[in-house]
Amino acid sequence: MLVFAAINWHSMLFFIFAIFACVFALLMLVTNNIVRMAFYLTLALGATAGLFMLAGAHFVGAMQLMIYVGGTLVLLIFGVMLTAQESFVTMKTRGGDWVLSIGVGLSLFCLLVVAALSMPDFGGPVQARQQVTAVDTESTTPIGLALLGVRVDKLSELNDVLNQGMCGYLLPFEIVSVHLLVVLIGAAYLARARKHAAT
């Protein structure tokens, strides 16, 4: 019972979600079946949404579930279904490709792990989990206002150099809006039926 009480539930849930995300990503890599790849990718991205919510980014986690898992992956699965001929469902990779890419991937992974472990925690991880009040004051207001150009989370930035950059994200927001419109038109143009273009 003492062991049970000593468990840090934040860490526990983190390890559950992290193992889910990594294992399903790895399964996605090793399987050759494109339909199974799509399914494993769905599960890995869902576990990542859990990680986001665990880190306090509730809104981004919800958006991950709605846009990524609910939108982008449905698009991908439609693509899989439209191209799922017999010979394209399972496509074997040559052995040489595996050896080369696994070698490059492992060396890059070692580099990234060293970089991650050398990340200064700025005084270590936050220890006092018990002092967090049960009332959740999280809201999406700071995110929405930051997209409109007002940073309510950094009104009192003491550093003058950093204070110049506190102008919010209005311009990127507008650019992304126009970009989505362009992408919509471009995708419709690219994917239209070829027969109409020939005539």
Binding site: A6, N8, S11, F14, F15, A18, C22, A25, M28, I34, M37, A38, A44, L45, T48, L51, F52, A55, G56, A57, F59, V60, M63, I67, Y68, T72, L75, L76, F78, G79, V80, T83, T93, D97, W98, S101, V104, L112, L117, D121, F122, G123, P125, V126, R129, P142, I143, A146, L147, R151, K154, V176, V183, L184, G186, A187, A188, L190, A191, R194
Partner: protein, 111 residues
């Protein structure tokens, strides 16, 4: 010194992000199906997003990059959706023209 009793730091999140990033890169390199390559790209973007969220989380360390991490992650999610739509349109166009989805057969740069 059991891992489950220790609080987790930002390094744990970054290692998870690194694992997803590397698996995405290897997926892009090895898959022969164009849609498999596309799924690798999605995994790479997610690995980067995990890092952004971890560095912006006030639960993991006292000094963070604040709300910027969440906002950049939101932009990445939206741009990934746009990228998937265009890439899927290109893949379907390629499939209609060449009757294959194998990226190894896409070695001629004319329509």
């Amino acid at each position: 010194m059991y891992p489950l009793t220790e609080p987790i730091g930002v390094s744990h999140y970054m290692i998870v992000g690194a694992v997803m990033f590397i698996i995405g890169v290897v997926c892009m390199a090895t898959k022969r199906n164009a849609l498999g390559v596309l799924m690798g790209v999605e995994l790479v973007l997610n690995g980067a997003n995990v890092n952004f969220i971890a560095l912006g989380s006030k639960y993991l360390r006292p000094e963070t990059i604040g709300l910027d991490g969440q906002l950049i992650a939101l932009f990445v999610i939206v741009l990934a959706a746009a990228e998937a739509a265009v890439a899927l349109a290109i893949a379907l166009n390629f499939y209609n023209n060449h009757a294959t989805i194998d990226v190894d057969r896409a070695d001629e740069l004319k329509g």
